[in-house]
Symmetry: D2
Subunit: 305 residues, 4 copies
């Protein structure tokens, strides 16, 4: 299949799309991005890769990184993860406290904020230097040596993270956060402040399409086959907050979005793809990014359904 | 792949499983089934089929039939379906009214009771003799001439359907039910009262695995490729109420359960499978049925993730 | 205290008030009332009475009658009432199903629709001819022989009572409605369809201000002192749905409103008052009626706080 | 009326009551109190006062102090209070976040935790040394010079105040907390850590029964007549969380409880009463304290209903 040509077609088809949606501003630092950036990349399990547009420009991956944190936590302590976090779609916005109160501090899944905070708490407990080691983990799975956090974004989010503070305190009240709340939050905002390009994201997620084997050629095994299947399942049912069904419906691939405008999608056994466009719809997902992946999935006949 | 041998292995592996869970009794007529029945069937897109245990004994398919009603409605009037019903997981029990009130009478998806009632309302509006024609539709897609309703189960459910009456009245209050409420309910309880065996269910759902083409040999096209993908996506995210994530996680296939103890699963391009065991877990899904399909998916390496 | 002069002052003060709010139309038959009617009446425990404006014109008392139904039910079977219905404010709109589902079919209080339906169910069970006997009860406590239902209003509400049907069915599902649902609903819509004037309402509620003794001179005792105190407490905390605090705050008297635009208020030991103005605010309470009673309470220094 | 004899009767009637309920332990420091303490005091608007049992022993007044904070805030900036906090019963536990999220950070009333935190924020903004000045305010209205905070209780609550931190952060996210969160929390835990005896509490609340005039003889006016009526109304509808209706029903007086086991009740124009017994019921209100006030209200015929 000529993926390069397909990517080009997709990019061309969207070149004149109306400029709908708004750049996220709830983290002040994110508001300064050029809203009309557009990148698209695809990385095959056979090692070949393709890209279009601003696919080599780094941006703030935000919630996309929750999947990497989950993957790392599963490799270190899967038992704690599934004891303290569920695997069900939440049916609520990403930062809602309602369900968390009714369900006594156990987040519905690891991809809503509450769940990602618990995952960060687990990682913080299991490691000595969580921030450094998580960065190393991402560098290893992506085979890119200089992936790093944007400290200004981390700081900008930390200073305005009232909603996440509320989640942390509520879960702590129920006994489901065990480390110091400020430390967990600091780690969490760093995870979300990872900077990567579309091409790098596609590369970093390749182990999700290849049963736990990651780049480079050596194909080091980071997770078991079962574990990657589970993460893909959670992405499909929970990766887009209260638009998860819509993405499964329109794209048909497990995926995860971030408010920086990035989206990663996984086609098991074949490829990973990443799209970037900072304009978001009402529910916090990139409008053109979703559109691009929907087109790509159709043209490559890669829906898992 | 030797599906026959795999089914046998699965059946053997579960033969001595502890007898956990309870038969549904909220529809009185369902309470009389032998709780230890167990059937398993698989039907390939190439036409071959396999079965184990009580795979030829008919049982009340209950909510499994909601998928067939949805498929028929999409073939008749897809626009109305997606205008009046959503595609998001509900995150709530199958018969909850809470979300419906907050979201002003538009059900989250077509596989919870509220959504299936709207689908029945649409079908009732678009047809002359909804009950007869739906039975004909099921006979056509399954290529089985004598599939029929169990009138005692329908009547038994109709007489105790207070929760569904509450849903109907609430949606009517919001203007999302248009026909006579008693007629819609009567049609709905008949849909749920379909009697089919595992083998027949696997056969009836084959068009979901084969891009809309159904049995027999002629392979009449009932739905478009896009439509079946959408139904599969909805089954994956919404087919098991507040256990949808768990099923995606453990089995990795789109599927739908019923309180009669049946579960159907779809492996796109390869096969459909149906399991039956009347003992249900706390959330209304068959315990051994889920277990059987999880084993089957693992042994056939058919998870879509 | 010269109540007559005070009533006149209140009426004069409101004569030029802006015409805000809308007449209720959810019961079609109610929509035809003249929106600018205004009545005000006061009846003292010493027997004297005063009136202004359209105080002798009958209107549909609607939810105001829930208090009379509660009073009658307490006189017949107080134990069942407090076992099956709570005494807490609901904090939700009058017809919400959310709380009812969380609290498994036990309504928060007898003045929201769900609670009043349970009260009607209790009355229906304890009597032979509930409609006739309730009318007789109202005639007795008010000492007015020709108080009656408006059958067109009852029928109009019955035909559009989807929300109440939903409540009934949900409570029946939880086992908290015991009679035939249609019969209970029919009784309920009749209770709400009582037609009375302000003067008559003030007279009918006098036993609430006089420790259970009602008109006429003989002062027959309908309820115990304790029971009327309890009803007054429930009116104060629950009589105005999610505006109960506002009414307590502004008027400072136990009271009950109806969507027909009537409001009754009780000043224990001194008087009852009734106001009528069909224009309602967003939460279903008469705007000018509330205003009139607030002024009246201030001028008569009758707030219980 | 011989209040002294009545208090004695009440104390005697409860002397052998079963020891039900548990001392609050969620603030560790509170757990060390003797569970069987019992005090009762009454202060008349004519200046006379009466007491029984441990009525002179100070205890942690906890949420009872929310009323004093509200009174002080109303005397300083009533407009801000009613703009930022509602007057409706919440129908939820005292520390619930659910309603706060649905209603976008505006607490239902000033007596649930969220509302009291907003009141503290307003006081913190309007004053230079909030803690010192609030203490002075309480000393003034009670005419007791040495009323003070228990710093260990304040510190104990501050260290475990996860739920209140969650409320603060959530409201800050909605823009309804304006000062530094830690400062507001520090002030709030001090307000709750006031130590007073029953006799002192009855004295401090006297201005609520006497239209804003407080002790001593000089009868300095702290609030307007209207303001005290409003506070009494809010206490009646909201002073006991999701047991407000129950208290109105059984006692029939505006009141406020605290998890230290104290309860204050106000009988307008006549007296204030305070009871103390540390054993709490399931909803956080003193069991014997409620019982004592119910008896007292009956024997003094002081229910406002």
């Amino acid at each position: 299949m000529n993926y390069g040509a397909i990517l080009e077609e997709v990019a061309r088809a969207l070149a004149d799309a109306p400029k709908l949606g708004e750049v996220a501003t709830y983290i002040p630092e994110l508001g300064s991005v050029d809203p009309d950036k557009f990148g698209l990349a695809l990385h095959c399990t056979d090692g070949s890769s393709f890209a279009e547009g601003d696919a080599d420009e780094r941006f703030s991956v935000q919630s996309v990184a929750k999947v990497l944190a989950l993957a790392w936590a599963l490799s270190l302590d899967a038992e704690s993860v599934w004891r303290r976090v569920g695997v069900e779609p939440s049916g609520d916005p990403f930062n809602s406290l309602v369900q968390l109160e009714y369900e006594r501090g156990r987040p519905r899944n690891p991809l809503i904020n509450a769940g990602a905070l618990v995952v960060c708490d687990i990682l913080f407990q299991r490691t000595r230097h969580a921030k450094d080691e998580f960065r190393d983990f991402v560098r290893t799975v992506s085979a890119i040596d200089d992936v790093d956090y944007d400290p200004r974004v981390a700081e900008s989010e930390r200073r305005t993270a009232y909603r996440n503070q509320a989640l942390l305190n509520l879960m702590r009240d129920f006994g489901n956060i065990e480390s110091d709340l400020d430390e967990v939050l600091d780690f969490y905002v760093h995870v979300c402040a990872l900077e990567m390009s579309c091409r790098e994201l596609a590369q970093a997620f390749l182990f999700m399409a290849d049963h736990g084997r990651c780049l480079p050629a050596g194909k080091r095994k980071m997770l078991t086959r079962e574990q990657t299947k589970r993460i893909n399942a959670v992405m499909l049912t929970c990766g887009f907050y209260d638009e998860a069904g819509e993405f499964a419906f329109r794209v048909g691939l497990p995926g995860k979005s971030g408010v920086g405008g990035g989206i990663v999608a996984v086609c098991p056994d074949r490829f990973t793809a990443a799209a970037w466009s900072p304009r978001l719809g009402r529910k916090g997902n990139s409008i053109l990014g979703t559109e691009a992946l929907a087109l790509l999935a159709r043209k490559t006949d890669s829906s898992i359904f």
